[in-house]
Symmetry: C2
Subunit: 341 residues, 2 copies
């Protein structure tokens, strides 16, 4: 005999299938004595639910989906996703919910997967990341009616609830700090312009620079180390080069650090470097990078909690703001040369 089914347990315990189902799911319909007897039998026979059979009865699939639209080979460069995944898992697995992960090449493919998984009843909900400026995924997920949580905000995300951190405030704190050190020309190596958070950071920098009365420029990139390095090279080659550069990702920041070394620009003497993302990367390089620290693991946990709550009660959609990232000052920032303390 293969795996025991509830029918086997029912026979063994001398009750009906229905009674077994009630007992195993802790719902009324059987007496306490019978319930215990059934549980003992189930335990003895090492019974486990068959997830497909459960999902078939219109119930939960017991899994949530995360689809990443990125070029296939670039995943794993960003420590961010590893951290996020770990956080998601910590909460999901505690609730016996599995995570279905898929990496695809484009947003169109991602939407197609959303449709497929939803209609195949493979998942109970989705996590949406990399929110774009006019994100086509929002409407599709709303139409599909699958509970979904957006990571990012507070921009437009339709009726889907989001979990977000205030990166505008974060950018302001960076500029305040650099201005206080005496920097007057700040560059910003931004990420993909299509992302909402890229736009928010660019705007925040512009506003803040105006208030402080200093020069600031944002250069969009594709988040890759190659573009980060190339853009840094271009900036440092200008006659009036910036005394500080803010990088939107730690990979670009490290690449920038390499370029500075290559061009003989000392850090932080000749150039201050700030990373908008913190990870082990920022600590293992030399000099260690000043960076915005946020608890990505905790962020993942929060997203998972929000999604599970939404699945339990689809009417309870609610945005949730997480703590604003704090600036961790390390060795890569200082007063620009020529400034007297």
């Amino acid at each position: 005999m293969g795996r025991p089914t509830i029918a086997d347990i029912a026979r063994e315990a001398g009750v009906s299938k229905g009674a077994v189902s009630f007992a195993l799911n802790g719902r009324p319909g059987v007496s306490e004595a019978t319930r215990e007897r059934i549980l003992r039998v189930a335990e003895a026979m090492q019974w486990r639910p068959h997830s497909a059979a459960r999902a078939l009865g219109g119930a939960r699939a017991g899994a949530v989906g995360l689809v990443l639209a990125r070029p296939a080979r670039t995943l794993g460069v960003e420590p961010f996703f590893g951290q996020l995944l770990s956080g998601l898992q910590a909460v999901l697995s505690a609730n016996q919910v599995a995570l279905q992960l898929l990496v695809v090449e484009s947003t169109e493919a991602e939407i197609e997967v959303h449709r497929r998984w939803a209609s195949e009843h493979r998942v109970d909900g989705f996590v949406l990341v990399d929110l774009q400026v006019r994100d086509p995924r929002i409407a599709v997920l709303e139409e599909l009616g699958v509970p979904s949580v957006v990571l990012g905000g507070p921009g437009r995300h339709g009726r889907l609830p989001s979990v977000w951190a205030d990166d505008r405030e974060a950018m302001l704190s960076i500029v305040d700090y650099l201005a206080a050190l005496g920097h007057r020309r700040i560059a910003h190596l931004a990420g993909l312009p299509a992302f909402q958070h890229t736009q928010r950071r660019i705007r925040a920098l512009r506003d803040s620079a105006r208030r402080h009365g200093l020069e600031a420029v944002s250069v969009p990139t594709d988040f890759s180390d190659a573009e980060g390095a190339a853009a840094t090279r271009a900036l440092l080659a200008r006659p009036e080069r910036p005394t500080a550069i803010v990088y939107d990702s730690d990979v670009m920041a490290v690449a920038g650090l390499g370029v500075a070394a290559e061009m003989g620009v000392s850090v932080p003497g000749g150039l201050s470097v700030v990373s908008f993302d913190d990870s082990v990367l920022t600590r293992i390089v030399h000099p260690a990078l000043t960076a915005l620290s946020r608890d990505t693991f905790a962020l993942g946990e929060q997203v998972a909690r929000s999604l599970l709550a939404l699945i339990d009660d689809p009417s309870a959609a609610e945005d949730l703001r997480t703590p604003t990232p704090r600036l961790t000052v390390r060795e890569s920032t200082g007063r620009p040369l020529g400034t007297v303390g």
Copy 2:
């Protein structure tokens, strides 16, 4: 009406459920004309299979499992896993197979998840990584009878097929290269001693050093940047310090580079640095690191292909050797100071 079922299609096309099933799965039992009519109707109604219903009939679950036993917060530090995941996905998703991912804290928990997923019929097979010296997971998976592929070898892995690269050969090529440059004292910052590949690399270094008649020492670590840095500091503080260090991971290598800078040891003049793993990390630091390059993405693809083949035909278990990693020389290695070319 909700999602269309094959019953709806059958009614619409004027045939029975069975005929629809035959037609949609491309198997004999219906005429070509009927098949096309059914396919057109299914297309028009936007029918999608209900994965749970399929899995229930004793058929495939349409998913494979990957369980990682690591401290929750450390995932994402190693670019290796991102690459591996991408490779796995590329093949799996082309075959409409999903990947169930879970990160757990210990090997015991990992085994428990294997048991649960297998008995819940959630997955059709498993990918096993981080092969240990006497790995308790092997026996469990063999007992469960779930198709599984081991990443790593050629050590003991029972009757489970494995996909592996020859890291013994790889280590030999590193030592040959360093010896040719004139190095006579080589250190090796190894990974966790419990891993099979750690042991193989340590043995390979010892054997090779003996043949070349040079001094070599392996220091075990936990793969973390912290231990990598600490061990490097200890090595460089010795009176007779090594002129070259081989790091088992790129994260440790970068951390070691930082320590060298901090202690005023020039690279590659005072110290040559080699990383056993290649990723964007080794290229963005300065100096760029000489490293063993293997195509981790392709490795993931191969593992996925092997697993799918094994699921299709469980008797076809076969080990598969992938190309030996090749040494990519960059700027972090050179002749030791005091050596005349």
